[in-house]
Amino acid sequence: MDFLVNWLANVPGFAVPFALAALGLIVCEKSGVLNLGAEGYMLAGAMAGAGAMLSLDVHPLVALGIAALFSALLSLLFALLVITLRVNQVISGLVIVFFAQGLTALIATSQGWTNRSFSGLGELNFGPLSTLPVVGRIFFQQDIVVYLTVLVFAVTVHVLRATHVGMRLRAVGENPEAADAAGIPVGLYRLGAVVVGCMLIGLAGGYLTVAVSKIWVDGMSGGRGWIAIALVIFARWQPWSALAGAVIFGCIEALIPRMAAIGLQLPQYFVLMLPYVVTLGVMVWTSLSASRHSGQPGALGQPFVREERR
């Protein structure tokens, strides 16, 4: 029972980075811009969050804001490449990853942020609720971002589904020519989607350092951005499915060290492989399942040039 409570209580901390990053990717890709740079934006956010905690001595929530802003700043470079200059989106996304790896290592080293711990974001206290057996630990002893994540998802879903802005954004992603003919500024919508999406991914990275590890080391996103990309495909660009996927991954990540700590006899490398096997599995399932509609935006990955024939 203790095992179950400890396990489940630790799931949100692991799920939040996946969830926010996946949501950011969905926002970006709904506008038709393929974003493979998630790993890079997470690193940027993680470094900026840790740096803000260490050098500016700000409140953890402010540090998370700085993480999101720094990632947004980096995304302007990506937007310049893929929207203005219409460079191949796959290549540009990968370039951002390598650029961010170098940039974050350079900044963190020159500022002396590497390997320095800070207090970070603490858990909320709901008084008597937090001390309830079982549910108290799981639902009422989490940090504020866990609850905000659910709110952010609800708001994003609402905006995408039921507002003019959201519908235009999706139109730009499905058929930019038609959207253009209808008078929607395609480039502007794509820019907005890239910046907002990358802010969310940067927030996911910031959460990794500010709330989870409370320390920065080079390259610490550790492939989580790539898993978020797979999550988006698995979720067919549906935010709530992405949240569910993130929770599944959070369950696995929280379970792995706990199985080892009780000495459960399972092959080490098999267990470490689990998240990736699940990723592969769901991708195969997605492509084989009865519904042929993958949910992928129609113009994903295609630069928009007015009047150009496809």
């Binding site: 590890s213 409370k214 320390i215 550790g222 060290p257 000495g263 459960l264």
Partner: protein, 361 residues
């Protein structure tokens, strides 16, 4: 063309793998005064492995009255290593000190190409007349840290966060358990492998999971100090690796540390004097030879225990073996016979755990 290219590559590869065992006939001769340079694969202030090398560099500079230039962030591939090393050689360096397993092959090629330059590569695997790979017998220092852990643990349940289960990690885990059991024969060591050398998120999760299971001291063989920081947060003790991690956490009571300067200073002097002879199997350094040692102990370790640890350290310097027989693994299979000592080859291939080690697999 493709085939010819392939076969010539193979022939070259075979030649390389055979040569080091053959040539170590005469000592290496250095031209001019020793002029070392250090090439680091990651950032030099990484808080662990690389920083220990950079700190050793500063000590060697002081002891020998020389300046040792250093370059950091040279990735582990030939296209990055070669220009960095050749630039140093062009500028007059005649002793090149590396820092990584991934430098092994390129250093061997460079050693062939520059027979008048001496190469030393910590964590490397290749050797030649002018190339020596070095590593520390970290099981000696981790055994001593294990003693501290055994004394500090009230529950007798000790945790250990490690990267990947293979020889040089497994020997620290086993030695840690043997050290703990020297103080408390019933002590257990539960080890969680994170599968990564430097992932603070996984290290934190592993440490928290161990503490949830009731462990009250946590040892480590990963690169970041995260387990020590979590130990401090949760009010348990810890022991570190690579460097004295009490710098990062008040929980840290003992650390297995690298003391490369104790090897590098006399070795550079030997190279200068023309007395340097490399071993075809690499230099595997004990506490006595410099390479590994302990930073001990924190205030939580009693004077009595501290004395026991330091006595044991002296015994190891005087020849006591951590992996002396009779020694069986946790399944009861005899691994070292009475009166024998585990061979170096068996150490590098260690894939078993002693009694009291709890792990997956």
């Amino acid at each position: 063309m493709g085939m010819t290219r392939l076969s010539s590559t193979l022939a070259w590869g075979l030649a390389l793998s055979v040569v080091p065992a053959v040539i170590h006939a005469e000592p290496f001769k250095l031209e001019g005064d020793p002029n070392p340079a250090l090439v680091i694969f990651s950032q030099k202030n990484d808080g662990g492995w690389s920083q220990s090398l950079d700190e050793a560099r500063a000590k060697v500079e002081k002891e020998l009255g020389i300046t040792i230039p250093v370059v950091e962030n040279v990735p582990e591939n030939a296209t990055a290593i070669r220009p960095a090393v050749e630039l140093f050689i062009d500028r007059g360096s005649n002793i090149i000190i590396g820092s990584a397993f991934g430098y092994s092959d390129t250093f061997l090629e460079l050693a062939k190409q520059y027979p008048n330059v001496a190469f030393i590569n910590p964590a490397g695997t290749t050797n030649a007349a002018n190339l020596q790979s070095i590593y520390g017998r970290t099981y000696e220092s981790q055994y001593l840290c294990g003693m501290a852990a055994g004394a500090l643990s009230k529950s007798g349940k000790i945790g250990f966060v490690a990267a990947n289960p293979f020889g040089l990690v497994n020997w620290t885990v086993n030695a840690y358990a043997l050290g703990a059991q020297k103080i408390n024969p019933d002590a257990t060591v539960t080890v969680v492998f994170t599968g990564a050398w430097n992932d603070p998120v996984k290290e934190r999760a592993a440490t928290e999971a161990l503490i949830e299971q009731g462990i009250d001291v946590v040892g480590q063989h990963v690169d970041s100090p995260t387990p020590q920081i979590v130990a401090q947060e949760k009010g348990v003790y810890g022991t570190g690796h690579h460097r004295d991690l009490s710098e990062f956490s008040t929980a840290t009571q003992c650390s297995s540390v690298w003391v490369w300067d104790k090897y590098l200073t006399p070795t550079i002097q030997k190279i200068a004097a023309g007395e340097w002879e490399t071993s075809p199997y690499g230099a595997f350094l004990s506490i006595k030879e410099g390479g590994t040692d302990i930073a001990c102990c924190g205030d939580a370790v009693s004077e009595d225990v501290k004395k026991q640890i330091m006595d044991e350290r002296q015994a190891i310097i005087d020849g006591k073996q951590v992996y002396a027989g009779p020694l069986s693994d946790r399944d009861g299979k005899e691994r070292v016979k009475e009166g024998e000592v585990l061979s170096d080859a068996d150490l590098w291939g260690m894939d078993w755990y002693v009694k009291g080690v709890i792990s997956q697999q």
